[in-house]
């Protein structure tokens, strides 16, 4: 059997040369991913639990750690609904209607994916920082955005809002609008047309930020 031991039916139809190629390519794949992905992750896990589960738990239970986890979850709890709302609205407008400037709108939605996260932070400083456009005005009124939760939430929205829209637009385009038109013609109210949102990616990215 060749390395990896694939299904016998597949291997039987293979020539000797292609079986060698197969083994070689699989070995390269596993070695590449092993070195790049598994080794680093394994190292982190090993280090996290090096002093036992107790030490891991007690470092997790430190007030600083707990506060940071709480902040991350709070940010996600605010950002995910906002992004879902935006995603549904954008997908509905883009997938269901033809209008001028549509491709420009799609490009703008994609923009945060191409922009460095550092730029996302930088532009917020220019708008809301002490010397920014609105920063001085807001700080006078006691509202702090930069170095505060509001800033974290805004930055997270900035870098993660394309995900929901990007998942929904192809989905809605693929399904077509026939169902909705039919439902409307049969007297269904607009809100009864369902929208399945996939905000998993968005949630994941919030934790990343």
């Amino acid at each position: 059997m060749a390395a990896g031991g694939g299904t016998s039916a597949e291997l039987r139809t293979m020539t000797r040369g292609s079986r060698v190629t197969r083994a070689l390519l699989l070995a390269v794949s596993f070695a590449f991913l092993g070195l790049l992905l598994l080794a680093p992750l394994g190292a982190v896990l090993a280090q996290a639990f090096a002093k036992g589960v107790g030490a891991w738990y007690s470092s997790l239970a430190e007030p600083d750690t707990l506060a940071s986890i709480r902040l991350t979850l709070l940010t996600a709890a605010i950002v995910v609904p906002v992004n879902t709302l935006f995603g549904i609205a954008a997908a509905w407008a883009i997938a269901r209607f033809e209008f001028r400037g549509k491709s420009l709108l799609v490009t703008l939605i994609d923009l945060p994916l191409a922009i460095s996260p550092v730029i996302a932070g930088l532009v917020l400083v220019f708008v809301f920082g002490a010397h920014g456009w609105f920063g001085g005005w807001l700080i006078e009124r006691g509202i702090h955005v930069i170095f505060a939760v509001t800033g974290i939430v805004l930055a997270t929205i900035f870098i993660s809002f394309p995900y929901v829209a990007r998942e929904l637009i192809p989905l809605m385009q693929q399904r077509g609008s026939d169902d909705e038109v039919a439902a409307l013609s049969l007297g269904a109210r607009p809100w009864t047309t369902s929208c399945a949102s996939r905000c998993r990616r968005s949630a994941g990215d919030c934790c990343t930020a």
Binding site: G4, V28, A43, A114, V127, T208
Partner: protein, 282 residues
């Protein structure tokens, strides 16, 4: 219809509401902040702006950011191809596991992957020890930046190639083989031309992301000015020094590059669609 001028009339409701909300949200979240950056950059006198952009330290950081991203995208094009090939063409016991692993760099917080790489490649780490014995140091060198970027870019290349490879017609390969073409010949004349647009898309996406990455790199790069300092890091440093002009200039430059990369990605995807009708990925 109230919006008949802008949109083609439709029986479906909600265009005004959803379009209005989308545009106002985009303006507030994206356009306004980006406009602030662009205006800030143009408030700097042109001569000074040019000076800030061609500052020696800045140029060294561009060289690293762009060079490392290009090398990493090339490595991903080769190894990502092999991985995608194995996933699409071969049936082996851990295929599902391997398939899931590809998405890990997406799912992991960037800081975690950065720390993980620094841990394993540091001179005291598992792989770092072996490499140090061979006289190669990865962590805190430019090589480390490349390694981190390979990790970031891998899913883009593999995912776009997987779709394309699944679309290659096996009949054509069989026909070519029955006519006496060798394995390499089939690969070069049938498989490669079919997946070339997807490969280009994956390469461009990986390259574009690589330029702007920050979180996963700062842990492994060592961050030495002129040597292992990436452009996004230099922006953060300037910002921390309250040198807003330099931060704005560099930020504007990165933004312009991002725009160009976005146009390049769209052009590559459009080329692929025209050529073969290959679906765009993400």
């Amino acid at each position: 219809m109230a919006h008949g001028r802008v949109a083609v009339p439709s029986v479906l409701p909600g265009f005004g509401l959803t379009f209005g909300f989308t545009v106002s949200f985009l303006s507030a979240i994206i356009l306004l902040p980006l406009a602030a950056l662009v205006i800030r950059a143009f408030e700097i006198p042109p001569g000074d702006l040019l000076g800030l952009l061609t500052d020696e330290r800045a140029v060294a950081s561009y060289r690293l950011s762009f060079g490392a991203a290009a090398i990493a995208a090339t490595i991903n094009a080769v190894f990502g191809f092999i991985v995608a090939w194995c996933l699409v063409r071969y049936d082996f016991p851990d295929r599902r596991l391997l398939d899931t692993m590809i998405d890990l760099p997406f799912a992991l917080p960037t800081a975690v992957s950065g720390i993980a790489l620094a841990t394993v490649f540091s001179p005291a780490g598992w792989l770092g020890q072996q490499l140090a014995a061979a006289g190669v140091q990865v962590a805190y060198t430019r090589l480390g930046v490349v390694v981190a970027l390979v990790l970031i870019g891998l899913p883009f290349v593999v995912r776009s190639l997987q779709l394309a490879l699944a679309d290659v017609h096996r009949d054509l390969e069989d026909a070519a083989e029955s006519l006496g073409a060798g394995g390499f010949h089939v690969f070069r004349r049938i498989i490669l031309p079919t997946v070339l647009p997807a490969l280009a898309t994956g390469f461009t996406l990986a390259f574009a992301r690589g330029i702007g990455k920050y979180g996963s790199i700062v842990f492994i790069s060592g961050n030495l000015p002129f040597a292992t300092e990436i452009t996004p890091l230099l922006i953060v440093i300037r910002l921390e020094q309250y040198d807003y002009a330099a931060a704005a200039a560099l930020g504007f430059f990165m933004l312009a590059v991002s725009f160009m990369m976005l146009l390049a990605i769209n052009a590559v995807q459009g080329w692929g669609q025209r050529r073969l009708g290959i679906r765009a990925v993400r």
